[in-house]
Structures are given as C-alpha cells and as structure tokens.
C-alpha cells in the first residue's frame, strides 16, 4: 500500500475497558479515495476502533494518524440520534455550522459537483433521499430515515474521512441500493471506513478489508485477497451426459484435487488453491469426456470467507 495516499493509519492501537472488552494491537492503513471495510462478529471491537479514529475515545496505547493535521473525520454511528425537535434540514444545517464548514466550502470552492461538494444542505439531503421530508421533524423519522439523515449530516461537513458504522442495517433493499450508490460516489472524493454485517454489500463496495475478531486484526488485505485467502475452491461441473470416468479415477489422475459425483451429470471438484485450480480444472474437464453445460464456483463470497477466517481463528 502506498503510504503517501493514506488517509488514516492506526498504529499498535489498544483500548481496553474495565470488563476486559476492547481492542489490542490494531495496525492498518486506510487509503484516501477508497473504501476500507472493518468487519467482524458482534463485539469484535469495530465500534471501539471507529470511536478511537473519530477521537471519541483515547487509546490506551498506540496512535491514530491522519494524513494531515486538522483532517476532518465524520462518524455516522449505526443508530444516529438527533435532537428530536429539529427538522432534517435544521439537523444538517447545524451539522455544517458547528463543524465550521460553510467557510471552508467557500474557501476551497471545490470544482466537484453537488454530489461531492456537500456545501448545500439541500443537496446533501437530496442525495440521501430526504429531499421531500427535509422540513419534517426528526421525531417522526423511522430508523432507516435516521440513518440516511446521519449520512447527510456527515457528508455536509465535507469530511476527509467518513466513518459509516453499519449504515444500512435498518434500510430496505431500495434504501440499501441508494446508500451503496452514495458510498460508491463518495469514495471518489474521500476515505471511507465502513462496517457492515451485510457482507454482500461490503464485497461490492470495499477495496480493502480488515477482519476483526475478539479485539484483534485477524487478517486484512484487498477484497479479492480476502475472498480467495486460504480458500480451497470448489467448482460444480454440470455435464450434458453422464461422465465416462469415476471420481476415483479423477483423483488418481489429479491427486491434489478431490472429486465427488453429486449425480450422474453433476461433479464437485475441490482444489487446494486458485493457483492449482487454474491448471487442474482444465485437465479435469478434459478427463470427464462429456459435454460441459456449466462450471460454477461454489461459495466464493465474503460471507463464506468471513466465516472460514473467523472459525479458523477460533480453533487456533
């Protein structure tokens, strides 16, 4: 990772609470103009880590480095709460005003469009799908609307680092798609730190993933690396006719791989790694000597990778 483009660097950070919970030995770097996802089971320490980065909690040891002094960090918690007598517009206006943002926007005069400049309260609310309800009081908002408002209130401050703690946990599918679009757009302008239990969303959005478990970083890397790390890929091979070879014969031909016929025309082939599969799958397809209808990779998603990584960690 190129350190010159880092937006946040966490170095040996630790924070332990009286009940023993907390985080230890956290090291990672989040790049500017990218999405870094922090994923982990409940209680893994994601929110504590975000609170440290946002300056809400002091670290017991280690440090959080921002790319430049005075870099602005906006933190949108999983359950945003606002003063309920304010309207959505007033919340976002207050957010901008208390963070001293209007001057900064005026000084910088960013050439980017309304979707990134966020100088306009209405633009931020509109971007988050709250344009029609901006004059309604927050007390009447659903949790999903509050999450959208939390994002609008964060974006209007034009942060260098935007922390989104489970931003779509209360959203319906349309809302999730909207937020996905916002994140995809916003990562062009700033560093986004994201946590979510909806790993399919993370898989689509994140460039880099940090896996936390029991307060420690279990693994980290690019999304592709996390998806393929340590996996023994399994391909389902659907045939047009029954195969002319048994699983045992296949195994003898390719000893590192394992084969299982689920039916006459469906074979599951497991390889040691994606690298070995690259050559051995081709050989297996040839040996099957039957028309190939479909070859699909089984379980190559972040959910499966995450479960595997965390379970491996627990059995150590």
């Amino acid at each position: 990772m190129n350190d010159e483009t880092h937006a946040v660097r966490v170095v040996d950070a630790a924070k332990t609470f009286a009940n023993g919970a907390g985080i230890r030995d956290i090291n990672f770097t989040a790049r500017d103009r990218s999405v870094t996802a922090v994923i982990g089971p409940n209680g893994a320490g994601k929110t504590v880590l975000f609170s440290l980065i946002a300056g809400l909690l002091p670290a017991d040891s280690g440090r959080v480095e921002l790319a430049r002094p005075g870099a602005r960090v906006a933190y949108c918690p999983d359950v945003p709460q606002f003063e309920s007598w304010l309207t959505a517009r007033e919340v976002v206006e207050t957010s901008r005003a208390v963070s001293g943002q209007s001057n900064r926007i005026a000084e910088r005069k960013q050439p980017t469009s309304s979707t990134s400049g966020n100088g306009s309260v209405s633009a931020a609310l509109g971007m988050c799908g709250l344009g029609k309800v901006m004059d309604r009081r927050v007390v009447d908002f659903s949790r999903g609307m509050l999450q959208r408002l939390g994002i609008a209130a964060a974006l209007v401050t034009d942060p260098d680092v935007l922390i989104l703690d489970e931003p779509n946990s209360a959203l319906d599918p349309i809302g999730r798609a909207d937020v996905r679009g916002i994140i995809a757009e916003q990562k062009r302008h700033r560093c986004i730190l994201l946590s979510s239990h909806l790993l399919s969303e993370v898989e689509q959005l994140a460039d880099h993933i940090v896996v936390l478990d029991q307060g420690r970083v279990v693994t980290q890397g690019t999304t592709e690396a996390i998806l393929t790390n340590g996996i023994q890929p399994v391909w389902n091979i659907r045939l047009g006719n029954p195969a002319q070879i048994t699983a045992l014969d296949l195994k003898m031909a390719i000893p590192e791989a394992q084969f299982e016929f689920i039916s006459d025309t469906l074979c599951a082939a497991r390889f040691l790694s994606f690298d070995s599969a690259a050559t051995q799958l081709k050989t297996a397809l040839h040996l099957l000597r039957a028309p190939i209808i479909e070859v699909t990779l089984q379980d190559r998603d972040l959910d499966a990778s995450f479960v595997r990584i965390v379970r491996n960690q627990e059995t150590r």
């Binding site: 946002a54 809400l56 002091p58 918690p77 304010l86 007033e90 208390v98 009081r137």
Partner: protein, 249 residues
C-alpha cells in the same frame, strides 16, 4: 461567534418546540395571577377552613408585600424546579450515544456548544419569571395597594440571581452525571434542602439561600450566589472537556 449563534438557535428551538418555554411561562404567569389573589382572600380562606366553635382565625387584611411574597414563594418552588430542569435538559444530547457523537465529533471545545445553551436557558427563565413578576405586581397594585419600588426591585433581583444560580448547580450536576433523571432528582433534593442553610445564624448573612427572603437581603448573598454560579459553570466546562463518549449511553 458562529457557535454561539448556532447553539443559541438550537436551544431556542428546543425550548419553543418541546413546550418548556410555554410551561415556564404558564407556571410563572399562573403564580403571578394567583399569588396576589391568594393574599387578598387569605383571611376568608383561613376563616372558612378553620371556622368552628372552638377555633376562630382572624387574619389581618392583605398588605401589598403579601401579594408579591405569595407569588415568589410559589414561583421559587415549582418554578425553580422547572428552571433547573431546563438547564439540566440542555445537556440531554450527551446522554445518548448517537447525539453525543453528533456534537463531539464536530465541536472541539465543548463549552462553546454548551454555554450558549445554558445562557439561553437563563434568559428564558429570566423573561418568564419577569412576566410572572410583572403580573403579580400589577395584580397587587390593582387589588391590594401600591408597592414600593425598592422592595419590588430587591425581590426581583434576588429571585433572578437565585434562579440563575440554581440552574447553574443543576447544569453542573448534569455535566458530572450525564444522567437526566439522576440530575433532576438530586438537584430537586438539593433545592429543597439548601434553604435550610439560612436557618444557621452564622451563615444567614451571606449564603445565597438568603436571597429567597427577597426584600430583606444584603449584598453578600448576591455576591456568593454569583460566585457559586461562576464556579459551577467553570467546573462543568472543565468536566465536559475531560469527558469522553459514554459507552453505556
């Protein structure tokens, strides 16, 4: 300056939309209207309540000071507790993690956010108390008799200073506990207990609670009330600057 204006605006909206301003105004206005009336009809009320063959109560006719005193007694009990609640709830945002994060990630010097809100609370209480006080004076003048300017000014000033001090104490308790119910409960108990200090002769010449006597106060209780106010606000600001996000909020 920006923070002062923004915080003040949010607090004004809170007091207006939550009904606290209307509540304060109603309470003080009610006592302003009822205090002098109560003083005027006190002989009849007492006579009716205690009339029997064995017991007869004869009360003297109401004096103008009685109208003001009865207003102030009521205002400085229920009104005082309401005023303290206004100060305490101005920090209510810090009791919930979500709203605490909203401000704590945006504002570097927290007192720049909280002090203007307290000051708006002071202003609101001063205005609403004054409305009640003016009503009490007007009712007294109309139905009982002329009040002297010095007595009126002394009662008004004493009460205002005491209300501001009580609100600052509540604000300090809230800043330290960050629990609304606990702060209101302990502040209420404190407000009920504090007046007892005036019963001690050694203290009575300077403790702020002497201000509750209104017309008969000297300058010392004023000064000590101002000192307590400054101390509470400074301590609360110091506490707020040291605090981090409440994990159990």
């Amino acid at each position: 300056m920006r923070m002062l204006l923004v915080s003040s605006r949010v607090e004004i909206l809170r007091l207006k939309r939550s009904g606290l301003f209307a509540g304060l105004l109603a309470v003080f206005a009610f006592f302003g209207l009822s205090g002098p009336g109560l003083a005027l009809y006190m002989p009849e009320i007492l006579g009716a309540a205690a009339a029997s063959d064995q017991l007869t109560i004869q009360a003297t006719a109401a004096r103008p000071e009685d109208g003001i005193a009865l207003f102030n007694q009521s205002a400085m009990q229920l009104g005082l507790i309401l005023a303290v609640a206004v100060a305490i709830t101005s920090l209510g945002w810090d009791t919930r993690a979500g709203s605490s994060i909203f401000y704590r990630t945006r504002v570097k010097q927290l007192s720049a956010l909280t002090l203007p809100r307290l000051m708006v609370g002071w202003g609101t209480v001063i205005i609403t108390y004054t409305v009640g006080f003016v009503l009490a004076v007007a009712m007294t003048v109309l139905f009982i008799g002329e009040v002297t300017m010095s007595v009126t000014a002394s009662v008004w000033a004493s009460s205002i200073v005491y209300l501001v001090m009580a609100m600052s104490i509540g604000y300090l308790i809230m800043a330290a506990t960050r629990r609304t119910s606990a702060a209101i409960a302990s502040a209420t108990v404190l407000m009920l207990v504090l007046p007892m200090l005036s019963q001690f002769e050694a203290l009575s010449s300077w403790v702020p609670t002497t201000l509750l006597a209104g017309a008969e106060t000297t300058v010392m209780p004023f000064l000590s009330a101002v000192a307590v106010t400054v101390l509470c606000v400074a301590t609360a600001s110091l506490i707020a600057s040291k605090q981090v996000l409440r994990r159990d909020a």
